[in-house]
Amino acid sequence: MTSAPWEDGSDGREERGGRERDRQGRSHGSRRGGGLPRGGDSLAERSAIGLLWAAAISAVAVLGFIVVYVLWHGLPQLTPEFLLQSPSAMGREGGILPTIIGTVAVTAVGLIIAIPLGVGTAIYLTEYTRSEAVTAIIRFGAECLAGIPSIIFGLFGFLFFVIYLKMGWSLLSGGLTLAAMVLPTIIRTTEEAIKAVPLSHREVSLSLGATRWQTVTRAVLPTAMPGIITGVMLSIGRAVGETAAVIFTAGSSLRLPTSIFSPVRTMSVHFYILAREGISMPRAYGTAAVLVLLILAINFAAYWAMNRFVARRT
């Protein structure tokens, strides 16, 4: 006898099981390893643990080395003037304020476009279409988009937004290009987050007389929010540091932007130009340090926001 889809009870059960396991894990942590025979003493076991440990350490070490190296060379450059003044002599003198503003602005424009589009697509794919073909095509498109190198996005943005749509080198062109670039990430992470919401939330909501849209906005999205925020944060991280996609589309102007049609130079482009054209290596490191600190700050802010969000809801 085939049982009805809800009778397997797999949704929700796992989630709560996880919570319970979690609590037990914490309260009985001290009992670990006691009582059970230990199988961890063979040579193969020990070398496997050693290799995995080494892999984990080297992954963290690479990250740590890069951050320390950049900050070591860059931090001495960080003065109030460096952060709050416009550059002069092509960046050899003065500060990098326009590039900080340019980076934040172009990323913001990109996300303002990408978030509604990406989250909307994910909601449609998970909640509204049951057509496997449509889902597969859109998903395949998103995957392909994710695999394209950013320089190709830059070229596309240049030809399409800058030239064809006559937007010129501008915040808008750069933002649209970044949006196209981070869209797959937002779609996929949002999709996964929505799919992880137990079916029972939707059923209860519908059984209380809610419409489908109310169910999505009030029962599904709030639960999926931490996952969606993670995707958005990954996208911000990618967009903030992006060079190739914006150098062709946002331009490299050192003036402060005045509108969405102003050209801007992002920090990564500034760093690239300073280093590539041999203008000033110390200034290049200073710029890189600000960029690294900004990305770290975004990540910490994201985790803080997410923890607060989760704590408030559960």
């Binding site: 049982s3 889809p5 029972s200 059923e203 209860v204 059984s207 007389g209 419409t211």
Partner: protein, 265 residues
């Protein structure tokens, strides 16, 4: 099913819902076969039977929750106060407000206790804070939870014990002012004490509401219901007062099941 004389036996005035000749298909698979069953007003009707016999499926026909599953087809008639709930143009949202459901696993939203209960009234358009507070209070009182929870309405619903979570789910349902309450194995995840609380609550609710409970626990059906329907492999085998089903059933298969001799078919 006329051989049981169900249709002649009861007074139509006391009937809240009626299922008549209902077949249900999931794609090719027929999950319900010619079910005819009354649900009397302000009485508790239990539907019992082994796993996979279609009892949950039948329950989910009563508020059209099966609509959410692709490829489901229902034929026959199901009426609520005489109106066919599968008639074209039926307002399914209004139906679900009138015929509410408590699910197998306690499933509060990851929201505060207050917001869980206010969910139903809010999605149905109520915004007035004062009235929401009033509804939350009366719903918690109705579910026997007010004294326990009145000081922690802002606390997270998921921090409650499973038993209280299930009672909260009942309270959340009461907030939409239903007429019929469907319970789909509401105690299968609960400990015996919580189970007793839910059974007492059901008895209490049946003074105002029509209650239908699906259960695989025969003691529960025997203790807590007025009428019992026994199902097997998508068919209704027997329907009658709970006393009759458990002490003097007409069908041998019913007797085998209630005495624990029938395990699987």
């Amino acid at each position: 099913m006329a051989e049981f004389g169900i249709v002649e036996e009861y007074d139509p005035l006391e009937m809240k819902m009626e299922v008549r000749n209902v077949d249900l298909f999931y794609g090719q698979h027929q999950a319900l076969k010619g079910i005819t069953l009354p649900f009397r007003e302000q009485r508790i009707t239990a539907i019992i039977g082994p796993s996979g016999c279609g009892k949950s499926t039948l329950l989910r026909c009563l508020n059209r929750m099966n609509d959410t599953i692709e490829g489901t087809r229902v034929t026959g008639h199901i009426t609520l106060d005489g109106d066919d709930i599968y008639a074209p143009g039926t307002d399914v949202r209004a139906l679900r407000r009138r015929v509410g459901m408590v699910f197998q696993r306690p499933n509060p939203f990851p929201l505060s206790i207050f917001d869980n209960i206010a969910y139903g009234p809010k999605v149905n358009g109520l915004k007035d804070k004062e009235r929401l507070r009033h509804i939350v209070r009366t719903s918690l009182e109705g579910a026997g939870l007010w004294d326990d929870l009145k000081d922690r309405l802002d606390g997270a619903a998921l921090d409650l014990s499973l038993g209280l979570q299930q009672q909260l789910c009942v309270a959340r349902l009461l907030a939409t002012k239903p007429e019929v309450i469907l319970l789909d194995e509401p105690c299968s995840a609960l400990d015996p004490i919580s189970t007793l609380h839910i059974e007492e609550l059901m008895r209490e609710l049946s003074t105002q509401y029509t209650v239908v409970i699906v259960t695989h626990n025969m003691q529960q059906a025997a203790r807590a219901s007025d009428y019992t329907a026994f199902m097997l492999a998508g068919e209704l085998i027997e329907y009658g007062t709970t006393a009759k089903i458990f002490t003097d059933p007409d069908s041998e298969r019913t007797e085998a099941y209630v005495t624990g001799k029938l395990h699987r078919t």
